[in-house]
């Protein structure tokens, strides 16, 4: 390669890169007050699309070939094409559709009904209702375990998590947690982390025994949780911080200042932590090794992205 000058080397590199499949990591950000769904290319930091989406969307679940949104004021769940945002199915759900999670293995979408203590099980292809699951009062966040075996709902007003078998949809357990659980997510090791907005802590659940095995303090009003590099990251709405927790010891290791009202949080395939700030309309990017915020992008009004919002394929 010695005979190549610098610009020629770059051209060769560009050709090689162009031949690889696109690996861009994308974030789908529901902007509730602005009635919009924004698409960000996380490699360039560009907002590549902003689609109008009525009904005050907040909930989000991103799959391989479809993106699902929940607009609670419009009482509607929508299925979108990932690149164009085109709506390919729509379900009007009478009640208070709030949280959403996708079971891609079985082609099912789960949507919590805040007002009626239930979870709708929808067909991911056409959003028809397949089943109704009973939860406790005010179910909010929903999560599917990485191994696809379990579905969990945070039943806010009864301070519990409902755990279901993802295959049979049978109830496995109701598990008492802290006060007013809202967001929750399964860690890569299978444990379930639940943020309690009333007690400002996380309940860590062992799903095998269906018991809380630890309670970890976080900041004021925990909203969402994600995992990267052996740590949990929690958005604290009122504190304007992220809590960072070591997954081996379950102890807090750092608190990071954020913009105002951090809410939805997720992790890219290469391990970056991405979160929205509802009040000042930004998305921020955190390096999980240095714990530095590396980027901040402007969004439409009121970004929430309540759910899994990153696609990495």
């Amino acid at each position: 390669m010695r005979w190549l000058n610098a610009s020629a080397r770059h051209s060769v590199l560009a050709l090689i890169l162009a031949a690889l499949p696109a690996q861009a990591e994308r974030a789908y950000i529901t902007c509730q007050n602005g009635n919009a769904l924004s698409l960000f290319d996380l490699d360039t930091g560009q907002e590549t699309a902003r689609w109008s989406l009525p009904g005050q969307p907040a909930g989000i679940a991103v799959g391989t070939d479809a993106v699902f949104t929940v607009a609670p004021e419009g009482k509607v769940v929508r299925r979108h094409t990932p690149i164009t945002g085109e709506i390919t199915a729509e379900a009007h759900l009478d009640g208070g559709p709030t949280g959403i999670a996708l079971d891609e293995r079985r082609g099912r979408v789960f949507v919590s009904d805040w007002y009626n203590a239930l979870v709708w099980v929808l067909d991911a292809a056409d959003l028809s209702v397949l089943r109704i699951l009973e939860t406790g009062a005010a179910p909010a966040g929903l999560a599917v375990s990485d191994d696809g075996r379990l579905i969990a709902s945070a039943d806010r007003d009864v301070n519990q998590v409902s755990l279901f078998d993802a295959e049979t949809l049978a109830l496995i357990a109701r598990i008492s947690v802290g006060i007013r659980p809202y967001g929750l997510r399964f860690a890569p090791d299978g444990r379930l982390f639940v943020g309690n907005v009333g007690t400002n802590d996380l309940s860590v659940i062992d799903p095998e025994t269906a018991h809380v095995i630890a309670t970890v303090p976080v900041g004021e009003r925990p909203y969402g949780v994600t995992f990267a590099k052996g740590r949990a990251f929690v958005t604290n709405q009122y504190a304007n911080t992220l809590s960072v927790i070591d997954l081996a010891t379950l102890t807090p290791v750092a608190t990071i200042e954020t913009n105002e009202y951090p809410e939805g949080i997720d992790t890219t395939a290469d391990g970056r932590v991405i979160f929205t700030n509802w009040f000042d309309n930004t998305v921020q990017v955190l390096d999980p090794d240095t714990l530095e915020i590396t980027d901040s992008y402007d969004t439409a009004d009121g970004p929430r992205a309540f759910g899994r919002f990153i696609a990495d394929h």
Partner: protein
């Protein structure tokens, strides 16, 4: 102006108890006002959590805890025996001239919101004087679907906007426009 707002709110119908629940979509309001006085003078007037007498709707303020985190205050509005609001301080930074507080108790007939939190900040203006910024985040007064018009999102935003505008107008009157 402020009084008119609370009077309007006072005619709202009574509703069942709803303390913990909230509607589906959180609202936000940010209002700012520029005044001629420098930030230290403005902060001197509004930076004490235990004294909200700078706001024309507030008849009296009494509380405990000074400006420490978790300090509380009890506001009486309009006149002796008037409607009340209870609040708690959760952030206070005198160096940055900002504090944050939440409402812990208010009737939706007084202010048609739930889960209300707020920040008040004084910043220097490049051209001289100060900018006062007042921000709030809250849910509407009616926590369920299909709210009556006096307790919907628009009513909540209008009410909070009215409170902030009245307070900021009073500061402009007191300190002058820049």
């Amino acid at each position: 102006m402020k009084r008119r707002h609370f009077l309007a709110a006072a005619v709202l119908a009574a509703l069942p108890g709803i303390a913990l629940a909230h509607g589906p979509s959180r609202q936000k309001v940010t209002l700012t006002a520029d005044v001629a006085a420098d930030p230290a003078a403005v902060w001197e007037a509004i930076g004490n959590f235990q004294d909200m007498s700078w706001h024309p709707a507030v008849f009296s303020t009494e509380g405990t805890g000074g400006n420490d985190i978790d300090a509380t205050r009890h506001l009486v509005l309009g006149q002796e025996g008037g409607p009340t609001i209870d609040e708690v301080l959760y952030k206070y930074d005198a160096a940055k001239m900002t504090y944050s507080y939440r409402i812990t108790d208010v009737l939706v007939e007084v202010l048609p919101v739930t889960n209300y939190s707020s920040h008040l900040t004084v910043k220097p203006r490049a051209e001289g004087g100060s900018t006062v910024e007042w921000r709030g985040a809250f849910y509407r007064g009616y926590p369920n679907n299909d709210p009556p018009p006096e307790l919907n999102d628009e009513a909540a935003v209008a009410a909070v906007t009215g409170v902030y505008q009245a307070g900021l107008d009073a500061l402009v009157e007191r300190f002058g426009a820049p």
